[in-house]
Structure formats: C-alpha cells, structure tokens
Amino acid sequence: MGAYLLKRIGALIPTLLIMSVIVFLIVYLIPGDPARVMLGEGADEDSVRQLRQQMGLNEPLLRQYVDWALSALRGDMGDSYVLRKPVTQAILEYMRPTLSLAVAAEVFALAIALPLGLQAASRRGGWADRLLSAYSLLGMTVPGFLLSLFLVLLFSVKLHWLPVSGYAPLSTGLGNFLKYLILPAVSVGVLMSALIARMVRASVLEVRNQDYVRTARAKGVRETRILYRHMLRNALIPILTVVGGTFGTLVAGAAIVETIFNIPGMGQLLVSSVSHRDYAVVQGIVLVIAGMYVLVNLAVDLLYAAVDPRVKIRG
C-alpha cells in the first residue's frame, strides 16, 4: 500500500515536468507583456524596456525556465508581481475557496443524485425515473452560467434570502460560510448531480438482477436494505469514477462560476493572472491543478479497493 502510494505520487513528477514545460512555453510565447500592462496606455519603449529588465524578463527563455524549475523543485514557485507575495502562499490562500466550493457542490450533487438515482433504478418507469429523466435533461442542457443568473435573480434580488456574490470563510461562522456557498454550489452541482444520478441509475440497474440480489430477496431481506447495502455497494465503482471526474473538473474549471459569484478562488486568480501576464502565478496554478487532478484520481483508485474487496492494490 505504502509502495503503491509512493509509486503513484512518484508518477506525478514526469506529469508535472511535462506540464511545466508546456505551460512555461505557452505563457511566454503568447504576446502581451507584463511590463507594458503595468505601465499602461502610452508607455514609452524606454520605460517598458527598463521595467522588463528589472523584472528579469529579458533573460533567455531557457535560463528563465531552468531558474524557475530549480526553484519550484525547492517549493519556491517565484513571486507574483501583482500580489507581491510568494506564488506558493498565494495559491494556498486562493485554493481554499475553490476547494470549499468543490466540496460543497459535490455534497449537493451526491445528496440529490444518490436518492434520486436509486429510487429511479428501484422502480424503473416510475415517478422517480421520470423525474430523473427530466432533471438530468435540464441539468445537462441548461448552461451553468444561465442557471447561476436565474438563481441569483430569484434568491438574491427578488427574495433577498442569499447574497448575490462573495465568499466568507468558515472562520466567520458556519451559517455565513454556507450562505455564500449555496448558490454557486447549486449552480455547478446541478450538472454534476444530473451526471451522477444517471450513472447511479444505470449501475444499479445493471446489478439488480444479479444472483446475490435474488438470494437476498429470497432470504426476506428488506428492499431498502437490498438497495443500499447490496446493490449500491456493488454499483459504486463506476459511480466513484464519475464523482472523481466531476470533482477534478470542478477544481480545474472553476473560473466561470468564481467570476460570476465573485469568489476569490484559483479560477479567478488564474484569469486575472493571465490578464496581467503574471507568469509565475499562471505556471504555479496550472501545476497545482494538474497535481490535484492526479491526487483525486489516486483517491478514487484507493476508494475502489475500499468498496470492493476484489480490487487489490499492490505496490
């Protein structure tokens, strides 16, 4: 197990190395100059050149990359010229709202998807099944940003129940924390729940005619217990795959929802860093997102073994 973990985490290194080269090249080869952004309209060439020199942007590209990569290996991803702080520190701060949103959205999605999917599978063609069809159709076709706007209009502008935008950390109180997270979490959670609910339904339907289910019924086990204890558990592996995928996608693609709801997370930081050509931050965030994606997949793999004894993990 320990060896397996080490092996998987070790596999991160080449992934991150390749990512870092790609991101470094993309960021530096796109036009746009941080010095010019800082100096703005009408800046003369002398001032731009001078600031580029002071910011170390006139060094050869390879040297800049090697310097950055060596520092990154020591955990130092450079400094942000906009935030004026180490990139590592900035990412840690901005990661928290993103992770909070991802966790909240996932919890919402599972809370809707699991009961709905199970109910739909247990009575195929019944009311829950029809509801699931309609819900998943809507969830997957209504764009997230449109849903966000509807939710804001209804719950914030008309009813004044929830704030339009912003983020409050847990330290300001659970109620306040949740108040700010509900709308963004629901906005992204609806699509995720539609996907997961369909997967739950399909997976459970696949196992409902298995011998062990018939045996359980013959033994007189209650239908609810069969559903949750036997069928769901055996149907969990494809469900976990979808859940892991949606979580990773949410962490990586939070920019839109963070912009709409004004959440100071990694997505918003990435967008503004690209605008300001804050190279070090862009590189750092992309690397961290890549790393998190791999870690989420690792967690999913570990969960396979936890839910299915037939899956063995060896180093």
């Binding site: 197990m1 973990l5 036009p31 100059d33 010019r36 952004v37 800082m38 100096l39 703005g40 309209e41 009408g42 800046a43 003369d44 060439e45 731009v48 001078q50 002071q54 910011m55 906009v82 520190q89 900035a90 701060e93 990661m95 928290r96 709202p97 992770l99 909070s100 966790v103 706007l149 804001v152 209009l153 502008v157 004044h160 704030p163 339009v164 935008s165 912003g166 983020y167 409050a168 950390p169 847990l170 330290s171 300001t172 924390f177 700010y180 912009t259 709409i260 709801f261 004004n262 959440i263 100071p264 503004s272 605008s275 300001h276 050509r277 570990l302 073994a305 936890a306 004894p309 993990i313």
Partner: protein, 537 residues
C-alpha cells in the same frame, strides 16, 4: 483485511481533511489591515456581516481588476476610481476641467513661463500623521514626471526643487502654460506621498499607500476589494466643492471598492443592495430608469478617436488617412458604442466643450464627413490596390469591438479590404506598440484636459513623427496670454485635422445608477468623488 481497509480509510481521511482545511480561510490580505471585518475573505461578506456600520459605509463596485494602487501609474478605470479618493495633488480639476489649487495654497508663474513657484498649504497631514512638506512634494512630483508617460514629454529634464518647508519650485527649459492641468490630471495622477514612500518604491510601484485625501487606505485584498476609512485629521480647503476640487469631507466611516468583473453580477448586486452605485448600459437602463429609489447620474466618460498607425505601409501616407476620415460616419460608430443617442454627442474638437481653454473647432470641416465618394477618390489618388487593412481591437474592456465592427462596415463600403485582429487587452497593448502589427485602432480616451495629454500626438502611441505637429504642440502649450494660447491652439487643432494622427469620432456619456439614499456623490470623467457623499441608514 480489516487493517488493510483501515489504512485505506486513514489515507482517504487524510485527503479529505486536506480538502476540508480549504474551508477554513481565504486569500490573505495585501497591505495593512486593522478592521474586524477584514477577517472575511469576501468584500461582500466583510460588508454585509457587519450590521453595526450600516449607513456609515459606501459600497462601490470596480469593473476591472487592479494591477496596482500606485497613483503615478494610475492607468484609468478601477485604479483611478480608488486612488482619487486616497490621494490629492497640488491641483485638482473642477467640474469644467479647470485646475484649482488643492494642496497648493497659491502659485506663481514667472513672466517667461519657465519658472513655477508653488506655495504649499501648511498643516496638511498625511495618513501616517506626518505633516506634508516641500521635500515630500518634490520627491513625489519628480518620481511622477519620470514615471508617468503623460508627464515625461512635457517636463524633460526639469525637476521640482524644495525651497524651504512650504515652497516648491519648478524651472522649465521651455515655457509651459498647462502645468497646473497636468498636475490635476486624474490618470497617471500626480499624487503627493511622503518622501519615505517614494524612496522605498519598487520599479513596479510604491509599497505603501499613504496620501492626504479624506479617506485613508486600510486594506487591499487582491482581486476582491479595497477598504478605505475616514481620515479623521483631514484638513479641507474652504472653497466650494466642484469635481475633485474644493471642500471635501468624509461623511461615511468606511468605503469598500469591490471587484465585480461580471456585468450581470455587478448589476444584480446593486439590485440586491450589495452596492450603492453601479454603471448602467442600454440593457440595464430600462430596469432602473423608472425606479423611484434609484437616481441616474449621466456624465462624460470618454472621447472616441480613430488612431492611425503612421508607420504602417498604407497609413504612413496621409492620403490614406484622409480617405478613411472622409468615409467616417460618427453617429453610426457612436451608436454602436452606446446603443442610444442619449449617451453620445458629436464633437469636432479633440477637447471637451466644457474645457473652455482648449476647446477649438478649427479644422472641423474634416470631421464626420460621411462622404464615401470623396473617400474613394482619395484612395484612388493614394494608389490603393486592395491591400488588407488591419483593425486592432479587444473584446475585454469598453466597447472597442462594437465600434470597430461599425468602422469595418464603413471601410468596406468604400472598397477597403479589412481584417479585424481581436486580442486580449494585454496582447493588444503589445501589438499596438509594434509598428508592423496594425493599421487602425479605434478606442476611448479618458479625460482629455490639455493638448499635451493627447497620447496620439506623441510618437509612443501610433508613431506620430512630424516636426510641424511637434512645433505646433509646443507653441500651444508654451504660449503666454489668453489670446496667444487661443491662436496657437486653433493652429494646432487645424493641423491635427490635416495631419490626422487620429480622427476624432465623438464623446460618450455614461450612466451611473445610485441609490436615492446616497447623497452628494459627484463624478468626473466617470470617476467618483466619494468625499461629501453620505448614506442615509
């Protein structure tokens, strides 16, 4: 098996704990923070969770992120919105764009127009408690003139020198008549800061934000909000408030400038009460114009100009510049920008009509000609052979893109082949600095107050390189006496329409919606002066 599973459980638990720790806090602060609300990571959270301060704070939205809060590097938009409420200069514009003494008590100009002597107000305190003296003013303005693109060309090697504690002297090589206007300009703002702040500034900006304005800097959470608080030791002047000049008094305890880049979010937040004001466009106007609880303020926000790349293959030839200018239909372009005739006006001058000293209609026969036949004839004379004209634009800010689409249509009507190059703002800035990357650029310019502030008359913006233009600009800004200034300015404006560094399109207005309980707010060039503004609880 059990221990194996428990190990997996522990590993997963650790991962979950790592995720959950994310919920515990948010981005750290930038700059000093002393407020209790600062613990909240969201501006909205910080504002709305503190019910005790209701009625003593203003919540103002920012539509663009802030790369810096350095006033000397103030680039417009969000930056000027914030810094104009923290800092002050020796002069400030009144509502007619006339420079009025602010931190200067008085000033004197020598007969030859080369020596300016500024007497400073005594007893003015910086936000750190230190009294403002001549050494601070000289250090600030020398950094400003070396840093601000708008100031560099005017001041050259001249420098501000202290003469005692309360006098600053500027000795210029050539006479200048617009120094006060330059010192008042809201962009690349000539703010006065403590000498220590200037001495410790980094190449990309100052590291502390200390001014003399009615609000002091408290906290900047990058990409979230800037918090200002009332400066209790502020010493106002006694003259009547107008624009950014005159008497100022902070009537609220706190001001939060909150970043909300998404238009719909910004507007929804205003409707929900999270902001006290919001910018309004033609889409959102119907939702607020008849609301009795909302007041609309309309003010001039920018002037639109078509800038020619004087180093491009085609537009280095003035005939091509004249051809395009002859084809322009200013109404159509301005309508594409504003969507409503209420929000623009035709203006043949490169200056606002309100700017009495510099407004001139000389050469205006070249303005808004709408004459495609003349344009085609000029193209023929120039030898146009179907080359593609590259229109540089961005979709990121303002209405550059809509205006450019309309320009494209007008050019195609006279048989010019066009191509629109759309970039993000940062790339557009870089491209515009390259001689070979573009031909035409149509965009808004903020608060033109004196000819030397017109960026496109300088070689750095569109590569104007013309001895006559430089001479006339020098004449206009060095003339002494009202009549001579007017004559030199008319000559300059007439030549601007002849040389065509840029073709003026018109002026645009902006609506700002404010809650009716917000009293006393004034805007100049789209920038709010939050002094003298109160909120009824």
């Amino acid at each position: 098996m059990k221990s194996y599973r428990s190990r997996i459980g522990l590993t997963l638990g650790a991962l979950l704990l790592a995720f959950a720790s994310g919920c515990s806090d948010g981005p750290d602060t930038t700059g000093a923070s002393s407020s209790a609300e600062a613990k909240a990571s969201s501006p909205a959270a910080a504002v709305s969770t503190d019910t005790q301060t209701q009625g003593t704070q203003i919540k103002y939205p920012l539509s663009q992120s802030l790369p810096t809060l350095d006033p000397h590097l103030s680039l417009g938009g969000s930056n000027a919105t914030v810094v104009l409420n923290i800092y002050e200069g020796l002069f400030a514009f009144n509502e007619n764009y006339e420079p009025v003494p602010m931190l200067a008590e008085s000033f004197d100009v020598s007969e030859d127009g080369r020596t300016y002597t500024f007497k400073l107000r005594q007893g003015v305190k910086f936000h750190n408690g230190k009294e403002m003296k001549a050494e601070d003013v000289a250090a600030s303005l020398n950094r400003w003139k070396d840093t601000a693109p708008r100031a560099k060309s005017s001041f050259g090697e001249a420098s501000f020198k202290e003469d005692g504690d309360y006098t600053v002297v500027l000795e210029l090589k050539d006479p200048k008549n617009d120094i006060q206007a330059q010192l008042s300009h809201v962009l690349n703002f000539a703010a006065i800061m403590p000498k220590e702040t200037i001495d410790s500034a980094l190449p990309d900006g100052v590291t502390e934000y200390i001014g003399t304005g009615p609000f002091k800097f408290v906290e900047w959470k990058n990409d979230q909000y800037v918090h200002l608080a009332k400066f209790d030791d502020y010493r106002p002047v006694s003259s009547e408030a107008s624009g950014f000049s005159g008497k100022k008094e902070a009537l609220v305890q706190d001001v939060y400038f909150t970043l909300a880049t998404d238009n719909a979010t910004r507007f929804s937040s205003f409707l929900a009460g999270d902001f006290d004001a919001v910018d309004i466009n033609s889409d959102t106007l119907p939702q607020v114009e008849n609301d009795p609880n909302i007041t609309l303020i309309k003010d001039l926000s920018s002037d639109f100009n078509l800038v020619f790349n004087k180093k491009s293959e085609l537009f280095s030839n003035v005939k091509y510049r004249q051809a395009v200018t002859a084809a322009l239909d200013a109404d159509q372009i301005l309508l594409a920008v504003t969507s409503t005739p209420d929000l623009y006006r035709l203006n043949p001058s490169y200056m606002y009509k309100e700017n009495a000293q510099w407004y001139s209609e000389a050469g205006s026969e070249a303005y808004n000609q709408k004459d495609p036949d003349k344009a085609k004839k000029l193209l023929e004379e120039a030898g146009y052979a179907g080359q593609t004209v590259r229109l540089l634009t961005t979709k990121e800010t303002g209405n550059f893109y809509n205006a450019t689409l309309m320009l494209q249509s007008q050019l195609e009507q006279i048989g010019v082949k066009t191509q629109i190059d759309i970039y993000d703002y940062a790339t557009m800035l870089t491209k515009r600095g390259e001689e070979g990357s573009w031909d035409l650029y149509l965009g808004p310019f903020l608060v033109p107050s004196t000819p030397s502030q017109l960026l496109y008359l300088n070689p750095t913006y569109g590569f104007a390189d013309d001895a006559e233009l430089a001479k006339l600009l020098q004449n206009a800004t060095s003339a002494i006496g009202e009549d001579k200034i007017k004559q030199a300015n008319d000559e300059l404006q007439a030549y601007e329409w002849e040389y065509l560094a840029a073709a003026k399109i018109g002026d645009t207005y902006k609506y700002t919606a404010i809650r009716s309980d917000l009293k006393g707010l004034t805007l100049l060039g789209g920038f709010p002066n939050l002094a003298n503004t109160s909120v009824n609880p």
